[in-house]
Amino acid sequence: MNAIEQIINWMPALVRASGWTLALTVTSVFAALAISIFLALGKISHKPYLKYPSSAYVFFFRGTPLLMQLFFIYYALPNLVPAFTIKSRFMAAFIAFSLNVAAYLAEIIRAAIESIDKGQMEASRTLGLSYVQAMRLVIIPQAYRRMIPPICNEFIMVLKDTSLVSIIAVTDLTFQTKMIASNKASQLVYIPSMIIYLIMTGFFTIIFNKLEKKFAIYD
C-alpha cells in the first residue's frame, strides 16, 4: 500500500476524531464565556465578596497546569468526593477546559472593560444610569469590540490545547493519531493530522478576521 492510499484509509477516523476536537473546543469556549463574564465583573467590582473569590478563581486556574486540573477532575476528585464522579471522559475534559478557559477569558474581558475611559462611566452616572445599566448600555458595548481579537486568539489556543485530553483517552484528533501510529506501526499519520489541525486553525483565523473587520464600524 502506498502512502497516499494509507492516508486515505485513515481519513474517516481522523475526521471523526477532529469532530470531537471541535466539539470540545466550541462547547468549552462557550461555557467559559458565560462563566468569565461573571468573573470579570466580579474582579472589577468594589464589593469584597465578589472581588476576592473571582480573583482567587482566576489566580488558581491560571496558576496551575491545565493538565493537572484535568487529572484532578477526572482521577482525583471522584476519589476524594465520590459525589463528583464523572463517568464520561468527554464531560470531564469539557468541565476542566471550561473552568480553565474561563479564567483566561475573564482577564481578557476585565482588561477590555478597564480600557474604556473612566469618563464614560462618570457621564453615565451623572445622567442617572445605575452601575449595572452603565455597564450594560455604555461600557460593555464598547469593550465588546476590544475583546473580540483576544477572545478569537484564545479560541485558537484552546483548539490546540485540547490535544491534552488524549492523555485521559478522549478520542480527539491527537488520540486517534496516536492510536493509528501505534497500531499500524506507521508514523506517517502525524502528517495528515497536523494538516487537519492547520486547516481548522486556518479556517477559524479567516472567520475571525472577517468578524473583527465587521465590528470596527464607528471608529
Binding site: G119, Q120, A123, R125, T126, L127, Q133, L137, V138, P141
Partner: protein, 252 residues
C-alpha cells in the same frame, strides 16, 4: 429656597486636602462662574456636588434637603440611596472632554438616559432629542457618531444630552478648555442662550468674557478654598482677595 447649598465641605485624597471648608449657595436662575488657577479644587467642587466624588467633611443640600453629611469621611446622617439618586438627577453635568458615548449617534446619546432612567417611550425621547439638537443647532448631525463631529459639536451634543434629563441646574467643568480656539464661540453661544433662558448654571471656566457677561456671581477658588465671592462687575474691577488680584493680573 436654595437649589444647592454646601456647608463647609472638604475633600481629602490621602493626606492631601484638595478642597477645604467650601460654603456656597446657588439660587434658582443664578449663573455662577467658578474661576481660579489650575489645581484650586474647582473640579473637585463640581464633582462633589454631582456625586462623582464623596466629600470627607461637611454638608450638601439640594432644594434645602440634605444630600450628604459627613465628618472625617464617615456618613453622619444616612440618606436613602433611592432618594439620593432622585436628588442627584436634578443636577446635569457637562465635562471638559465631552464624554459622549462613541458607539451611539448624537441622537441616541441624548435618548439613552430619558429612555432608561425616566422610562420615556422611544418616540417621546426621539422627539425630545430632536428638539434639543435643534436648540443647540445640530439638527443635521443627529445621525452622526461622535467621532465624526468636531469638538465644539460634540460638546453641544453633550449639553443637549444633559438637558434631556431636565435638570434644575447645569454644572459645566471647563466646557471649552479642550476645544480648538475657533470652536469655543459656538459652545459659549449655546451656554449664553441657556443662561438667558433662565437655566441655573454653575460654570467652571477660564473664559473671563463669559464670566463677566453671563454670570450673576463669580466664585474664586484658590488652594482648595473659596477665596472670594462677588458679582462679576465688582470682582473684575475690584477684587478684594490678593490672590484673586494676582490671578486676574496673570490671565488678563
Amino acid at each position: 429656597m436654595s437649589l444647592i447649598r454646601t456647608v463647609e465641605i472638604s475633600k481629602t485624597f490621602g493626606a492631601n486636602e484638595v478642597m477645604r471648608k467650601v460654603s456656597m449657595t446657588a439660587e434658582q436662575g443664578e449663573v455662577i462662574a467658578v474661576i481660579g488657577p489650575s489645581g484650586a479644587g474647582k473640579s473637585t467642587l463640581l464633582r462633589a456636588l454631582c456625586g462623582l466624588e464623596t466629600i470627607t467633611d461637611g454638608e450638601i443640600y439640594i432644594d434645602d434637603e440634605l444630600l450628604e453629611k459627613r465628618s472625617e469621611g464617615r456618613e453622619v446622617e444616612k440618606i436613602n440611596s433611592e432618594r439620593r439618586k432622585e436628588m442627584l438627577l436634578r443636577l446635569g453635568m457637562v465635562f471638559q472632554r465631552f464624554n459622549l458615548f462613541p458607539h451611539k449617534t448624537a441622537r441616541e446619546n441624548i435618548m439613552l438616559a430619558p429612555i432608561n432612567v425616566k422610562k420615556m417611550s422611544t418616540k417621546e425621547a426621539e422627539a425630545k432629542a430632536n428638539a434639543l439638537l435643534d436648540r443647540v443647532g445640530l439638527s443635521d448631525k443627529a445621525d452622526e457618531y461622535p467621532s465624526r463631529l468636531s469638538g465644539g459639536q460634540q460638546q453641544r451634543v453633550a449639553i443637549a444630552r444633559a438637558l434631556a434629563m431636565e435638570p434644575e441646574v447645569m454644572l459645566f467643568d471647563e466646557p471649552t478648555s479642550a476645544l480648538d480656539p475657533e470652536l469655543v464661540g459656538e459652545v459659549l453661544t449655546v451656554m449664553s442662550d441657556l443662561a438667558k433662558s433662565g437655566t441655573s448654571m454653575i460654570v467652571v471656566t477660564h473664559e473671563m468674557g463669559f464670566a463677566r457677561e453671563a454670570a450673576n456671581k463669580v466664585i474664586f477658588m484658590c488652594d482648595g478654598e473659596l477665596a472670594e465671592e462677588a458679582p462679576p462687575s465688582e470682582f473684575f474691577s475690584n477684587p478684594k482677595n490678593p490672590r484673586a488680584r494676582q490671578f486676574l493680573r496673570s490671565i488678563l
